[in-house]
Each structure stands twice: as structure tokens, then as C-alpha cells.
Amino acid sequence: MSVPALRTPRVRPGETLAIALESVRTHRMRSLLTVLGIWIGIASVTLTVGLGQGAQQKVADQINSLGSNLLVVSPGSSTTGGVRAGRGTATTLTLADAQALADPTVAPDVAHVAPVRTTSGVLTSGSTTWTTSVTATTPEWLGVRARSLAEGRFLTAQDETTAAHVLVLGGTTVSELGLRTGVGSTVTLGGTAFTVVGVLADSGSSGSTDEDDLAVTPLSTAEAVLGTAGSNGSVSSIYLQGASGDRLSAAYQEAYAALATRHDTGATTTAGATTGTARAAAAAASTSSVDFSITSQQSLVQAATSTSKTLTVLLAGIAGISLLVGGIGVMNIMLVSVSERIREIGLRKALGAPPALIRRQFLAEACLLALAGGVLGLGTGYLGALLLPSLIDQPVTISLPASLGALGVALAVGVVAGVYPASRAARLAPIDALRSD
């Protein structure tokens, strides 16, 4: 018998796809309605996730705008709501602490140290006065805080040693004082005339505080002229910049150990303390007894974004349900399509379409519909990402992985929704199918 001649002919996948495409094209209205469910589902998932990520990104950007690889050492314990016992005593952060941390043998993973003492001060230019935050710091502040200059120069080491009467102003401060030309102007602060040597470039508003409303002056000048220094040179906070992102936690450990040692035994024993012994000391020191805290940007970002993350998951879940409903819609329409096309299926089978091919044809159709919905939904999502920020003042971030994920989900919905109708079509007996109606 010539049974070998019965080898099932191979129909190319492109052919199956072409048949499925044709069917989608010939039933335009129905296809569109089917696609609509997936379309809305994917668009809402894309947008909610995009909004959530946008919100997280915004918070992270704000925190990261403080500088990169930043650690902030604050006096007292942040957990007691800013009530800092022992202010002005030997246990407060001091300039000496900052100098100790700058020592590469104490904290090798700390690249830069910028101690900051912030006070409020009244600036006068002519008849205009403006109260602003006066930041007394070192030249390293500019790099550590990732700021740049719009014009002029920043503080120099020479300013620091000579306690020069110089100021670097933020953009807001310059405009509030009504200064025509920022650099070269003379501004009075605490009865002393200062020369404006530089103007900072705008950083953009960071949360509730205007980072562009400030006057920066050398620490030595602040001590000498303004007399804001305590007897031991206390500072409000110390900014530390890690050598690199992955050495930040090492920098944290070193700084913590060094400060714990210093504040435990007085302000004298830093030289010669190796990192190892400093760490051991830190481990020995009870955390509750330390009078400082170190926060990293990472922890700030995490704390700030966890809420919006929860909300995003919740919203995306709801949007996911609409996607599920869309998938059920595809299944429903495909089932209708199968019963509507019983004759066509019967004919195709009579003409030699094997069951597997019929199954693939309907599966391909469901996938095409779902994928079309996915692409349209993604397009709508991108459009929304362009338009929404101007409407609701919320950034929308749509990432490439999220987009591909959405398409993958759409395709999966198509496969899941298509399997049952497709197998029903494949199981139809050609005679029954041909005889219907």
C-alpha cells in the first residue's frame, strides 16, 4: 500500500498567519470590538504602572539631586524626631569629626567630605532685604552636592584660609535681592559687606525646600565674621560622598565606626585607628548610645517610594483585572467565531486541512487580535504618557521592559483565550460542519 504517500503536507507558518490575518480583515468590526478589551486593558496597565514609576522616579530624582553616592551625617538621633539632646556639647558633630572622616586611613571609601553649618541670615542689597539660609561650608560642597555654577566661581581653598568675605548665591536669592548682575555685587550680611563671586545654577525645586534660595560662604568666614561657630566648631551636618556606588556601604560602615569611636572616647583618638579596629569598636558600641545618625540616599529613596510602590501594585492589579476581562472577551468572540464559521471549518477540513492546522489557524487569529490590542494599548499608553503630565502634573515613566512585558501579557492572553475555541474548531467533524444549516 502506498501509505508513505500519506505524509501530511507541510503548510508553512506564514500561510497559517496569512489565513488568520485574512479572517481578521474580513470581520473588521468584530475584530475591532474584540481588540478593544485588550486595548483598554493594556493601556490602563501601561499607564498605571507608568504613573507609579513616574512618581517613584520623581521622588528618587529629588533625593538624588542632593548629590550622588551621598551619605548624610546628622547630629542626634533622627528617630527621636529631631530632639537632639546634648546640643553644643562635645558629642555634637564638629568640624574635627569632618576632618577625621576626610582622613583616608580612617575612612578610605569616603571620597569627599563637606561639613555644613546652616543658619538663617538677612542679606541686604541697597534697600532690599531678603532672609535666606546661609550655608557655611568648604569648597568640596559643590561637587558633593552635585551643583554647578551659572556664573562666576565657587569658594576656593584660599577663601577658606583667608576667611574671605565672599558669597555664592542661589538663583532665587539673586532675583529676590533684585541684583542686576550677580557676580561682583556687594551684599551685606550681619553688618559685613560680602562680594558675590558666583551664582549657582538652578537645581530645580526639591520637595518643599527651595534649593536655589541660599547663600554659601566659607566656614572660616562664618566663624570669624558671623560668629556662628560654637566653642568646638560644631556643624549642622556632614555630607560624605562615597568613592563609588558599590563602595557606599563600606563608606557607611567606616564613617559610622569612626564617629562612634570618636564620640565614645572624646575628640582626640582618631589617628592610628585602623579601619578594622574602628569597625570592631562600632560593633561594640550600642547603637542606642550614639548621638548621630547616617542616612544614605538609598534608604531615603526606599522609604519615600515604598508607599507609591504599594499604590502602583494595587492600581496595576485593578488594571490587570480589566485585561483579564478583555481576555475573556477574546475567548467569547473566538467561540462565536467558531460557531459562525462551522461551514467554513468543515469545508477547509473536507479540502484537506488537518485538525492541527485548523487549531493553529484559530489560535493564530486569537493571538493576532490580542497582539493588535496590545500594540494599540501600548500606543495609547505612550500617548497618555505624553499628554498626562501636562494635565495632572504627574510624570509618567514607561520603560522598555514594561512595554515588552505588556505585549507579552497580551500575547499570553491571546494564547490562553484562543486555546479552547481553537481546539473546538479542530474537533469539529467535517460532515457535521458541512451540513450545519
Binding site: E22, A350, L351, G352, P355, P430, I431
Partner: protein
Amino acid sequence: MSDEPLGPFTWVDDADGTDDPATGDVATTPAPPVAGHAVVALEGISKTYATGAAEVHALRDVSLRIDRGEYVAVIGPSGSGKSTLMNILGCLDVATSGRYELDGVDVEDLSETDLAAVRNTRIGFVFQQFNLLSTLSAWRNVELPLVYAGVPRAERRERAHAALDRVGLAGRVDHRPSELSGGQQQRVAIARALVTDPALILADEPTGNLDSRSSEDVMALLDELHASGRTIVLITHDLEVAAAAERSVTVRDGVVLTAHDQQGEPVGAGA
């Protein structure tokens, strides 16, 4: 299963069929051993449908042989079992028992996929309802079997056009079925049946939906195909239509009663 009765109901407990009154007339001569030139060789084919507690014997012990180049009419009233016979001949259904060899292929135990391949390569169907896909143009309808045969597109187009040319519709290749008359639609269907160059053309009431002029057209076309050496089985209830064939087989109550040649002389099935 069907909107037409399949045959007399026989209760299971007396379904042995030995006391069938028609037995005397039945062409019970067993088909001779399958020779190389037989297109259809049915041997003791029975088909039983179970409908609840009752069993319907649509076909009982049917033997039939059709040689290459023959033009055979299968005649029978509604419910005689001729549709079942046609389904089995067309590999659209499989017999409950018996042996069917189509063009040298034993089809009883084939899987659905293999049956599809047999239908695709060896049988050309012409249906009463034409069964053209309304969304496709004439040539796209004709090429369908070739799609499932895995023939490349360019060759499909060429062969479909040739088949339409053969049935006199060369000028209508891009027309949709709705733009064609009934007779033209049936000719498209015949072109579709021809395009794979099958061993057997199975025409099920091909003129059932046509007016008399179109019917003559279609019958003339079948005659032509027969003259060119095609093997054709025509299933009909219309004796006038059946007269076009060179041999007719009558089915009644699920059994093949007689086989006649054109002169009305009975001939043994497969003799």
C-alpha cells in the same frame, strides 16, 4: 448528526440483519481482490450510528468497486443511506466495519490527520451548496486545497487559473462567489475539485441548487471530465441526472440494491 433521516431504525436486540427482506436483491457478490486500477474498493462496509438507546444502521454490508475512468451514479431517495455512503467514499466519515481502499490506500484505520491528507490529494468534492468561501475570489477558492497540500503560492495561482480556464471561467478568476451565477459558482467548485488532480471526483447532488440550464451546463462539464478520463461518482436522487453516468448504483435502506449499466441491465457491483 444530520437533518435528513439516515435510514430505518432498528432496535439493537434484533439488529442481526439476516432477515432483511431486501437480501435477495442485494449485490452480495464480494468485490474481487483489489486490482491496481480500482479507484474505490468497498468490502462489507457497515455504518451504525448510536442515537441514545437506538442504533441506526445507515449502511449494511455494502460492497462496491469503481474502476479508474468510470462514471458512476449512486441513486437513492432521502434516507436511503446514500449520504452516508458518500461520506465514507469521501473519507469524511469512517465505516463501523468493513474495508475501504481508495486509490490503493487502506483508509479504515487512518488518523484524522491522515484522512485529511487523503481527502486533500485523492478526492475532489463538488457539493450541492457549492461551499465556496464568500470572502475569497474565485481563484482563491480554487487554490484552497493546494494551500493544504503545501504548494507554493506562485504555483497555486498558476494551477488555480488553469483549472478555472478548464471549466470555462478564465475571465472570472477575480470575481467573488456573490458576483457569479449559481452555475458559475458550481463550476468554480468543480475547478476546485480538479485542481489537485484527484483520483476521484465526488459530486453530491451537484445540480440540486441549479436551474435546468445551469444544470445542463454542469452535467455537460462532468461528461467532458469523464471523457478526459476522470473517475467520477455522482450522488443524486434524480434519475434523470443519474442517466448521465455510465453506470448507476441504487441504495435503499442502507444496502446497495442493484447496479445497472446505461441500458438498464443489472450488473454485479464491481463486476
